[in-house]
Every structure is written in structure tokens, then in C-alpha cells.
Symmetry: C2
């Protein structure tokens, strides 16, 4: 097979658009959407997949989570920062120590709607946190339009998600939108991740409910090599998992899940 | 009349909330809303009132603007940055030289919905731009919850509005929300106003339509002492004007309008 001859009539490749949606309502059609909910849904999902759960089923409703209960499936989540009766875990990534089943059902109020919105407008949906920042950047295909979708809080701007979005944008080449540019400015205004996370309204709620340790946990940068993808969604449930090379080729699931490093706690 | 005795049982006054809505969809109930559309609606309104128009009637629809035409009323505005047939002016604040009538009807796509949203959620609606920054800060009553409402562009984040919001937030004491804190970080990342304005997507459109001079014009800070208020709105039309002390006391309109200084153009 011959190499293609150089073509002088080839159109220059347009730069991909790098965008940030500070709330899920602002998502526009894009190639790759990266949903970010630093405090705490995407941090929890990265952690859960890292300790051995093969899939995380995300839902916005505690009732739906209960309906999903099955052998080998554990339930995690909170409603207004309170534990949900009958659930196995809260929504604290630091509290996940080892997988006690095959799958985790995660009830997350802000993360799930953001993931479902992203699925309806993007060709591919990845999940990002500070924990997996470096791996995420490597995973994003170059040349694709990318939108970082901040889950926010109750439909509102969340500082920690904007900070993480800015950290990601800084590493992505392309045409930055106004929002991407602003996110980069926000991120570059801080020396390290703990400060914007700790200043956020979500952190204040965590402190008020004795879960301040999660702030430090979620502020760890690039300690996991896992980039969760949303491979399927049915109704109001989105399934996050790590595809293995074997899975990508349509073969059976074999690789043991990577384990997240718990750095300076 | 005696001074009140010191009261030890007085509750501490809670700090007012200082918030920013990066898009009009994010407005929550507040005491004072400051609507900001730097490129260009609020800059144009401040300028129009400064050169002698007594009121600016804002509408989002060119047809509505035409219906409002009356003796002494001129029409200004654009549709997708193109002049509107039959209108007296475009939407360029720099092109307003002297009042050629009593009132100006301004067709503004992003500004009007933001003003109408603000009216439905705030006790008082002021209009802000960089042009009237200092006067605006002095005009905002202390102790009130304040939301800076960015008009944005087509429902999306606009860098120039976020920058202006940050410049305002920096001067307002109270409990900053996550969005207010982010706006402050964005503003403090720039040495002067021209840079974020020129980097914005709206500026690119102005340059592409030979209206780049407006960028420099709207980047002038605190050159006007006028703070427009929205005193009335009927249906889809909001009326901006400058109340005089006499008006505030229910008397007739007498004060000559202040003239905007045209600094370094």
C-alpha cells in the first residue's frame, strides 16, 4: 500500500473548539464532553472504579437507586448531605476502602443530570476530577471539539468545578471560548487545588456535616490513571466504567481494575 | 428626638450576599440586581442618557421597536450585528453624538431578556457598565443583597461581562458566592479592561463587522456619573432612566442630563 501523496489542495484543519459549560444548562453540541463534579460525584466514581467496582450506576434519585439494588450491587449516596436510609455508603470517596461487590449504585443529585445532558449533546462522555487529571488529558483525542461540563450545585456555578475545568483547559490546545478562557484565568489565580476547593460553598456544607476530610481527598491531583466513560444510559441511569483494551475490541472483560493511590491524606 | 439607647440584645446584622449570575438563567431572588452588557447594550444606554435622551426603551424585538416609534423617539439597534432597516442608529455607543429626540428605543437581543429576568427577581434593577463603574458602586445601597447579572451572549457566558462583574464584586462587601469569587479572580487576572474585552467572542464579531472602535469605547472605566435604573416595564419593554433627586421626591423632571466624557478614543 502506497503512502498518500502530499496534497496541496488539502484544507487546513480547523482548530478544535475548547469550551466550558459552567452549568449543565450551558452545554452545546460537542465531540467529547468531560463531566466534572469534584465535590464529590466524579471523585467518588474514579475512586470506586479504582478499588475494584467494575461499573458505577449513577442516578439522581434515591428511589431509583433502591430499585437498582441487586446481588453484588452496593448503594452509595446522600440526599442534601445526609446519609440515605438503607444505603451502604454515603457519597464520601475517602470512605470507599475496598470493593464489597461487583457494582456500585451512586445517587448523585448534581452529577447525574450533568452526565445525562452531556450524553444528549456529545459523541463521547468522559468523567473528570482532579484525581485523574493527567490521565484524562492523555485520554482526550486530539483534534476533537471538547466541552468541560461543570456539574455545579443545584444548577448554579460551583467554584471547585470551575477550577478543575480551568486546570483541564490549560492543557488542551484549540480555540478557547470565552468560558474556557475564564476558567483558565480562575485556575491560574490559585497556587494549589486545596484553596479553591476549600473556599467553595460545597466545602462549607462538607465542613458543617463533619466531612471536611473529603475536601483534601478530592484536591489530590493526578493520583489515578483511570478515566471513566459513560458507555450506556437507560432512562435516568448512566453507567460509568473503564473500558479495557479487550473490551474496546469487543472481547470479554478481563483486566483487573487499577487501584487508586491515596496520596498525602 | 432622642438617640436610641445601645441595645445589647440586637442581633448581629447578617452580611449581604454578593452574587454573580454569569447568564440570566442563573439569577436568584435578590435585593438589587445590576444588569451588565458591556458589549454593548448597557454601555449604549449609559451613553444615550448621558447625551440627553431622557429615557431608553429596551426591547428584544425589532418589530416591537418599530411599534414604539413615535414623535420624539428614535430607534437604535442591530440584529446579528447588522443595522436594522429603517432604524436611526445601530447599537454603537460611540456613534451616539447628540440627542436628536427625547427618547431612544433600543433593540437589544441579550440585554432585554436579562433586564426582564432581573425585574422578576430583584427589588431594584440598575444598569452597569465599565463606563459608570465608580458611580454604580456608590449608588448600590449598603447592606442589600446584590446580584450582578451578566447578559452574556445568546444565553452563554461572555468574558467581557464576567470581567466587569468581577470589577464590581471587588468593591462590594458581603458574603461572596462561588460565582462572585470566580468573577473577582477573572477580573484580577487582567491589568486593564481592554484586554478581556478584546479577547471576547463579542469583540471578534465587532472586529469582523468594522465596529472595533466600540471595544475601546466600552473599555473606558468610570467616565460617566450616570446609573440608569429600570423604573417600569410593560410586557417585553423595559424603560431605563436616571432618576433625579426631584423625581425621587415625586416632582417634575428638571435636571439637565450629565454628559459622558469621551476619554482616549
Amino acid at each position: 500500500m502506497q503512502a498518500s501523496p502530499p496534497r496541496s489542495d488539502r484544507l487546513p484543519t480547523p482548530s478544535p473548539a475548547i469550551d466550558v459549560a459552567f452549568t449543565a444548562a450551558e452545554i452545546r453540541p460537542t465531540g467529547v464532553a468531560v463531566v466534572v463534579d469534584v465535590l464529590r460525584a466524579t471523585s467518588t466514581i474514579v475512586t470506586a472504579l479504582g478499588i475494584g467496582y467494575s461499573r458505577v450506576l449513577c442516578t439522581g434519585s434515591a428511589d431509583e437507586a433502591r430499585r437498582l439494588r441487586a446481588p453484588g450491587r452496593l448503594l452509595a449516596g446522600e440526599h442534601e448531605c445526609r446519609p440515605i436510609e438503607g444505603f451502604d455508603y454515603g457519597n464520601s470517596p475517602g470512605a470507599l476502602d475496598e470493593a464489597r461487590g461487583e457494582e456500585l449504585v451512586l445517587c448523585t443529585t448534581n452529577g447525574t443530570p450533568a452526565i445525562l445532558s452531556a450524553l444528549s449533546t456529545a459523541g463521547e462522555v468522559l468523567l473528570g476530577a482532579l484525581l485523574n487529571l493527567e490521565a484524562l488529558i492523555e485520554r482526550i483525542p486530539s483534534g476533537e471539539d471538547v466541552t468541560i461540563v461543570c456539574a455545579g450545585t443545584g444548577g448554579r456555578f460551583a467554584l471547585e468545578d470551575a477550577y478543575a475545568a480551568g486546570r483541564m483547559v490549560t492543557r488542551l490546545e484549540g480555540e478557547w471560548t470565552d468560558a474556557a478562557r475564564a476558567a483558565e484565568r480562575i485556575a491560574s489565580a490559585y497556587d494549589q487545588a486545596y484553596e479553591p476547593l476549600a473556599q467553595s460553598a460545597d466545602a462549607a456544607v462538607l465542613r458543617a456535616t463533619d466531612q471536611a476530610a473529603d475536601i483534601e481527598f478530592c484536591a489530590q491531583e493526578s493520583v489515578s490513571a483511570l478515566v471513566p466513560e459513560i458507555a450506556e444510559a437507560t432512562g435516568e441511569v448512566a453507567v460509568a466504567s473503564i473500558p479495557t483494551p479487550a473490551q474496546a475490541a469487543g472481547e470479554s472483560f478481563g483486566r483487573p481494575p487499577a487501584r487508586i493511590e491515596h496520596a498525602s491524606k
